[in-house]
């Protein structure tokens, strides 16, 4: 059974359609790279999966739970679907450890000691254990993004969404974030990444989904799709991003 089932969803902002009849199934453990031009709807698709954006038609379910059902407890769902944003969105008034432990303490009612241990553990996974008591403003962009990933991991999600997580970073800082993504992928996490990192998509993506004008235009096994794009739109896109 698929972990994520997206069936025929439509979404528009006012009268502007952003997603048109998008369907996508993602199995547990898959790493799916969503690529496409800006404005093709890829980030919107991602934000629909954890219910940050409502959809007008179709259905999305995660682990059997309908996201777009008014009766669904979105808070419960979001504890199991982590999302990491382009602009990190750490809480600037909280230390690294407080950023990470806020949701475990407040939402999952973990005792503070246990939560702090958890923070230490997830920070170790992103290689920033020594930054436990630092504040976001004291960290580089790459470090902030790694903390954001750690914050998501601390909720022990079943699925993680990554929305252009390296796009706001200086080129020399993307490497450290990609390394963390790789290790998360290798641990077997189901991941959906909106990304411009074709190299990462090729090496770690089990699948590539190319979006164009609000539709899934081409998809398939990552290495194959990237090596031999079938549609002229993907060919144009790839030659534009690779050169």
């Amino acid at each position: 059974m698929s972990l994520v089932e997206i069936q025929g969803i439509n979404k528009s902002y006012g009268t502007v359609p952003v997603l048109k009849d998008v369907s996508l199934d993602i199995a547990k453990g898959e790493v799916v790279a969503v690529i496409g031009r800006s404005g093709s709807g890829k980030s919107t698709l991602l934000r629909c999966i954890n219910g940050l954006e409502p959809i007008q038609a179709g259905s999305i379910s995660v682990d059997g739970v309908r996201v777009n059902d008014p009766g669904t407890n979105l808070r419960k769902l979001r504890q199991e679907v982590g999302i990491v944003f382009q602009s990190f969105n750490l809480f600037p008034h909280l230390s690294v450890s407080e950023n990470i432990t806020l949701a475990p303490r407040v939402v999952k009612k973990q005792p503070p000691e246990e939560a702090r241990e958890l923070a230490r553990e997830v920070l170790r996974r992103v290689g920033l254990e020594e930054k436990l008591d630092a504040f976001p403003s004291q960290l580089s962009g790459g470090q902030q993004q790694r903390v954001a990933i750690a914050r998501s991991l601390a909720m022990r999600p079943k699925l993680m969404l990554f929305d252009e997580v390296t796009s706001a970073l200086d080129p020399e800082l993307t490497g450290e974030v990609l390394k963390v993504l790789e290790s998360v992928a290798q641990e077997g996490m189901t991941m959906i990444l909106v990304t411009h990192e074709m190299g990462f998509a090729r090496r770690f993506g089990s699948r590539v989904v190319f979006m164009h004008e609000g539709r899934i235009h081409e998809e398939g096994q990552a290495a194959a799709v990237l090596a031999e794009p079938k549609t002229p739109e993907l060919q144009t896109f790839l030659s534009a991003v690779l050169h």
Binding site: R75, I83, F91, A103, V107
Partner: protein, 216 residues
């Protein structure tokens, strides 16, 4: 009998200033409590609630405080509710203050990026938890300087309570002036006492603003 304005009168004025401070404190507490509710209602997803609160704020901000004071002190007894000057002043100042603090605090709340709400929501926090742990702590930093500025306005505006017979600093000044027939000396003293109360607050507000600018 006319006496001379003397040291003892100055002491009486200083003593009366405590009622100015007490009224300010009461009015600020009432304004803050009501203002917080208004600020949150103003950003609530329920549109009619937002409109209702916005209308309240427009009405209060568009009418003089003195009129509210008269309305409550002289108006309410006519419909059978008798109020003493203290209660009337506390209620009028709280109504007035809540409209201003509500707007100041609403501004502070909406100045926090939408992405902070999203980050909280994405971690499974409820709307109340997002407010409590993410949005409010960040907006307090932004809200403090204008809130202190409002407090200075409030201290000065409490002098209006003299008109309904509440013996605070200004009213005490009026009484002293009537007794000594030296209004110039008396009201300069009164002004100095107000200044001594307000000036440190203004300076504090300025220094907070500078500090927060540096932190940005």
């Amino acid at each position: 009998m006319i006496r001379t304005f003397s040291y003892i009168d100055v002491m009486y004025l200083v003593a009366a200033a405590r009622w100015t401070l007490a009224l300010t404190a009461t009015a600020f507490a009432g304004s803050a409590l009501l203002g917080l509710i208004l600020a949150i209602a103003r950003i609530s997803p329920i549109a009619p609630l937002r409109w209702l609160v916005a209308t309240y704020i427009w009405i209060v901000q568009g009418t003089p405080l003195l009129v509210w004071l008269f309305l409550i002190f002289f108006g309410l007894p006519l419909i059978g509710i008798s109020v003493n000057p203290w209660l009337a002043a506390a209620v009028a100042f709280s109504i007035y203050g809540s409209a201003f603090l509500g707007e100041i605090w609403r501004g502070a709340l909406v100045s926090i990026a939408k992405t902070q709400w999203e980050a909280g929501a994405s971690l499974g926090l409820s709307t109340a938890q997002q407010l409590r742990y993410v949005i409010v702590p960040q907006s307090i930093r932004i809200a403090i300087p204008p809130t202190v500025g409002f407090l200075v306005q409030l201290i000065k505006n409490t002098s209006l309570a003299a008109t309904i017979g509440l013996v605070e600093l200004t009213r005490e000044g009026q009484l002293t002036a009537a007794g000594t027939y030296q209004p110039f000396a008396v009201f300069i003293t009164v002004a100095c006492i107000y200044f001594a109360l307000c000036f440190p607050l203004t300076q504090w507000s300025r220094s907070l603003e500078r500090k927060l600018d540096v932190a940005r």
